[in-house]
Symmetry: C3
Subunit: 398 residues, 3 copies
């Protein structure tokens, strides 16, 4: 349900006449009982870490939001959107310390025939394909491996201590532009997010980092075509992550991905391919290390099958790292299968369950959730092998 | 006032038809001028620490909440409840750093003829008797001593550095079940809150704590009978608090309490008895210390007397610690008398005042609020004696 | 738009009848692209630090609020106001850690023919003249220098490490009284904010600070007259800031200011004079240092000119410090010119741009925003000279 709080009171401010407008209060509260079991091995045997927990957002991300639109006349409209994520298992938000913040989206927009200009914190263009072409929508144990490996938790690689790409799914301080919706199925957007770093002139003033450091900046775009049963989209983005990686160099994570879905009626199929590469722009090329352009490829195949008021969901996804281990060694890989069922009690309320199995190769250490793999047992180091998990929960939206 | 924001907009999502639904925005803003004066003594004389302050929640706990229910048909309903506590004297919430969080309640429920299943953060069953059978509702200087001593601030005992029982009044990560309301006055609930601790197999993996540690878990229940003027209820709960107490042992705070009220019309009388005990399950019984099962008994007698649009409130409560000092010494005790008057200007708005006097014996150091007792004067140590305080404020709900 | 969520549901609580009431959800989302360039010099040359950023609140302060009023009959009313500031460029609030909190206002009030008594966190009386007689309303690069220098950032002086006056614009834990609105144009308010410090009897108990320390307290008032085109107001306040300044002394920042505006129709002109002085009440007058009563004078001249649906804004402001440097040296001074244009697309939505130029003299180091001045270059120290900046943004209110 979307609640439109229709304006009942006259405006106190004098001046230009105000058009009909509404503010909407909306949200999702999603809770599940979840279990995780993560197994690592060596030639002596195996060890398992496990956890059972009440979790949030197993099917849809829990949230509380406020949004509204004002018709300015002549096709123009202004709108705002403030949306806070909630960890409703504990009643906390996502700020440090647990406070609520509008981390999911915090924007003000001006839109018209030209499209929409949007300012604030919003999803990055490159995240959309990872989530809309995932039958599990990057939530719960079913979340696809592209998202798990490429940045939902840590970017590029878990293997080599790359800095976290805080702009993987969203970017603050951004200016976005969206094509208008009436282009015969074509859609598109671009985003530029300021790094808000200081510049120093002369560069000799620079306190700690080289003048060229631009960590925090994101620039990207996405174009797609949705018509009838088909939806296909291509995205590319560059996220500057490099202040902390190697001093003296600017490091960028470059990502492109292509996703598509086709609804056959009896089933809807999904596919995505993603590629990301971490590039370092060396001030002095002689400083470059042996590892060049580490990164990862990922892909996903998935399907959903409607069954009466329910929906069966399935996906198989993989991630294959590149250049993240010493030359001659095999790069890590991980594969995941997820299966789930959503039973809709209404449009707003659903019961759901998901199960997932993940297999690591060559030292990859991804999980479906829960505790870290055991690293050693009695001094004998272990290699991450497999991770399994389940969610069983309820999603209620309002 | 409860504001029902009736759905005025059609649903955007296609699919199953949605039933009539509403979302309610509600809250309380309660502010008071409060004063506290806490006196400690020795054979040379006495010393007093005092404070005057603007406080929140002297009559009812200040809060802002969002809740709603969706009729799913066939007697089924889904609902959510997100409620944040507010310290409105400073405009802050209860998160570390002062942010708002839904600390008071954060739940999603499915209910029907079978009762209600509720997931998230909620009151513990054992807290209810402490608050509903207290004429002061565990708010302000009148808060009963059972609550003050048993965990509103610190559990079991203030005397011996027991770890705080964070699950005294509420528990996160919980699954609750409530009996349906149509049982001829009988009501009841049970709750299980996950500790969300990791398990290690083999146990040799355990990083720091024994495999049996389950700190954070709560399990409890409550049954009662409310019919006409009578309300009586019994509750029992076990809260695992033990990671930090003695390494190698799991420590549980076990609480049971029995409360009742009877409304004679000219006056309503209240009574409660509470018992809590901190038990340690020693891995190696030889490690057990001399102090066995420290705890506390508490009791309350109270009354409210309606006077026109007002209500006189009075209570006498006590707490008697057990086994918290060395054998041979007398266990600490504390006694408290509270008197108050609430003047209702409407259903939503009231002026109120409360006064309270608390007396400590044998080294108990409870207060009605405000600063700590002075511990020494010119090097001569002092023993806490008495605490007095008042609230004078306004409660406005919406 | 102010949304009145009219009560549709009957009250659950029995008792006194409830009057017609409403709760309003309101807010502002204001975002801008802003740039800053701050230049410092020495005899060898100059250095510049600069930044481009997406910012919040360039025209009006971004916020989300809930407020309501209940008619209690007989002219009496109860009301509440909870208003959180938002940094919508990043989706965060103002709590430590980024959580939302009702930092802008958090009050409960009782009002009637006698006026209004208001409890909680609110604006100080002395802040009002600084903001209502500023054509830029103390937002964005155009913010007047009185506010910049006197406390919006740091009070009294930036030069000498004075402690921040946290009660410059607002005070927590306050009791306020407002004259009723029907006094023929006369208006007025007083505020007392508790310091909530502990008192010790005997004073020998005092743990660290002298018994007289009252840091955190604010006491002040404001009277004014608004009729037709004229608005003029005088305010005075004392803010105790002294715990940390010099041990053994209570330090108070005393501020008075006088502001006025007159609307000629074709233009509205603004003026303000402000004086603040930091006084230290020495326990032992012999401890007093050479610097006596440091402080600052500030003044502002401004104008707004309506142009169709737009508004041109301009201001010139200055701050002249007193007694903040060693005797014989010239006290720092700063001067600022700001010019802006607001284009109203509706009552709720506006595009705006502002530019500002600030010049420092005698070592003043104020900026219009952005990075700090460069302090030295290759070991040669620099003196802050000038700061320039711009905002270009959109303000949307709801």
């Amino acid at each position: 349900m979307k609640k439109s709080l229709v304006a009942l009171a006259a405006l106190a401010v004098a001046g230009v006449a105000s058009a009909q407008s509404s503010v909407t209060l909306f949200g999702v509260v999603d809770a599940a009982v979840s279990g995780y079991s993560n197994k690592s091995e060596n030639r002596f045997g195996s060890a398992t870490t496990s956890r059972t927990a009440l979790t949030s957002s197993g099917y849809n991300s829990s949230r509380l939001g406020f949004r509204g639109t004002e018709d300015l006349g002549g096709g123009l409209a202004a709108s705002f959107w403030l949306e806070a994520g909630i960890n409703n298992d504990e009643g906390i938000g996502t700020a440090t310390g647990g406070g609520l913040q509008f981390n999911r989206r915090s924007t003000v927009s001006l839109s018209g025939n030209f499209g929409e200009v949007r300012l604030g914190r919003d999803y990055t263009p490159t995240f959309w394909n990872d989530t809309v072409f995932d039958p599990f929508g990057t939530n719960g144990v079913g979340t696809n491996l592209i998202s798990t490996a490429s940045g939902k938790n840590t970017p590029g690689s878990f293997q080599n201590g790359f800095v976290a790409n805080k702009n993987y799914s969203r970017a603050s301080n951004s200016v976005g532009y969206f094509l208008p919706p009436n282009l015969g199925g074509f859609y598109g957007q671009v985003m530029y997010a300021f790094n808000e770093k200081d510049k120093y002139d002369p560069a000799a003033l620079t306190p700690d980092a080289p003048d060229s450091q631009r960590a925090g900046r994101y620039i990207g775009g996405r174009v797609g075509y949705a018509n009838g049963p088909l939806d296909v989209a291509l995205a590319y983005g560059e996220s500057t992550i490099g202040d902390d990686y190697f001093a003296g160099a600017t490091t960028t994570q470059n990502t492109w991905n292509l996703g598509a879905s086709y609804d056959f009626g009896v089933a809807k199929v999904f596919g995505e391919y993603s590629n990301n590469k971490v590039k370092t722009d060396w001030k002095n090329p002689a400083d470059a290390s042996g590892l060049s352009d580490p990164g990862a490829n990922g892909w996903l195949l998935g399907a959903t099958v409607p069954v009466g008021p329910g929906l069966i969901r399935a996906s198989y996804s993989a991630v294959e790292y590149r250049n993240v281990v010493a030359p001659g060694l095999k790069d890590p890989e991980a594969y995941k299968f997820a299966l789930g069922y959503v039973h809709n009690l209404s449009k707003r309320t659903a019961l759901y369950t998901s199960v997932a199995y993940l297999r690591n190769k060559n030292g990859a250490n991804l999980t479906v959730g829960g505790p870290d793999y055991a690293g050693d047992i009695n001094g004998h180091s272990l290699t991450p092998k497999s991770s399994t998990g389940y969610d069983f929960g309820i999603r209620h939206s309002f």
